[in-house]
């Protein structure tokens, strides 16, 4: 990962904090990586942008709590330095935030999940019925075609024209049958691919939301 890529990912993870704080952090890490003798080594030592962002976010939210509790800048310097208190306040606030977030998210998230599940189910059903329809069509055409071809020699001497028509008809049916077998296999082969794509879209989005919460 290049420095620019790393910083872009970090910026993305820091969207939730105010612009000036984000810029400050990005400037710090920009400078940090630039000052290292080996940029790529420095990047790999820093950990993932997510890890770096997590530490910044944790401190941002605990700092917010702290600055609210000690508004006056003239307060006792020793007293307003209480890392342990602010750390426990942070974990308490984080839990509360998650609870509040999930309460707000529940009425929205639940219907979305239900709708997505229903859509997925409908898609599976559509594909299954397509496969069945194609297979049945192929089977019917084959059977009809074969029957026509088998009857051809019996009718050959009774009604030559009709017999030839029947033969042609049978060949066309068998040909179409082969085509539908092909169509069925295409849909069947595409089935896992499509479901994988759709589930990746849905799960990918869910994962993304989770990342944002992290």
């Amino acid at each position: 990962m290049s420095k620019a890529e790393y910083l872009a990912k970090l910026a993305q993870k820091l969207r939730v904090i105010p612009e000036n704080e984000r810029r400050d952090a990005l400037e710090y890490y920009d400078g940090y990586i630039s000052d290292a003798e080996d940029e790529s080594a420095a990047i790999s030592q820093l950990g993932t942008p997510g890890e770096v962002a997590a530490i910044i976010l944790a401190n941002h939210f605990s700092g917010e709590e702290k600055s609210q509790s000690s508004q006056s800048p003239q307060s006792n310097e020793a007293a307003d330095y209480t890392p342990d208190a602010s750390e426990s306040a942070f974990s308490g606030m984080k839990t509360a935030l998650i609870v509040i977030l999930s309460m707000f998210a529940a009425p929205v998230a639940l219907p979305i999940v239900v709708v997505l599940a229903a859509l997925g189910f409908a898609l599976v059903m559509v594909l299954v019925s397509l496969i069945i329809a194609f297979a049945a069509t192929a089977f019917g055409l084959f059977l009809g075609g074969l029957a026509s071809i088998l009857f051809f020699p019996l009718l050959l001497f009774r009604d030559f024209g009709y017999a030839v028509f029947l033969l042609g008809n049978g060949l066309i049916s068998v040909g179409l049958g082969i085509l539908f077998v092909k169509l069925t296999t295409v849909v069947m082969r595409g089935f896992p691919k499509i479901s994988r794509y759709v589930s990746k879209k849905i799960l990918g989005r869910a994962g993304h939301e989770k990342n944002r919460m992290d």
Binding site: D24, A25, E27, Y28, Y29, G31, Y32, S34, D35, A36, A42, Q45, L46, G47, E51, V52, I55, I56, A58, N59, G63, S67, E77, A78, D80, Y81, P83, D84, E87
Partner: protein, 108 residues
């Protein structure tokens, strides 16, 4: 290293190093890292907090065609450093009253 330096200890270490001379983020991190088992990303929030608490001031100096941000300890930072040192001496003393006498050998 099983005991992690956090909070007041890390503040004290950073402030003491900066009392010696001004430093930029990378050099400071490397100096702390050469002694303590801290991750690269722990120091940024520490610097930022010390800055917000006005224990540090920052200034930029051109270096290789860009500005390098240096940290400089303030009067308030020096006092905080003394507090951290006192906290540590107190803590160390308390632990030593229990654990210190052991000294890796028997008491007799």
């Amino acid at each position: 290293m099983a005991i992690q330096a956090t909070g007041v200890l890390l503040d004290g270490c950073v402030l003491t190093l900066l009392a010696d001379e001004d430093a930029y983020g990378y050099s400071l991190t490397q100096r702390i890292k050469s002694v303590l088992d801290v991750s690269e990303s722990t120091l940024y929030p520490v610097m930022r907090r010390l800055q917000t608490d006005e224990c540090l001031s920052v200034y930029d100096m051109p270096h290789n065609g860009r500005n390098r941000r240096y940290y400089k300890i303030t009067e308030r930072g020096l006092r905080r450093r003394d507090e951290c040192a006192a906290e540590w001496a107190d803590f160390k003393g308390r632990i030593d009253t229990i654990l210190g006498g052991f000294g890796g050998g028997s008491d007799e």
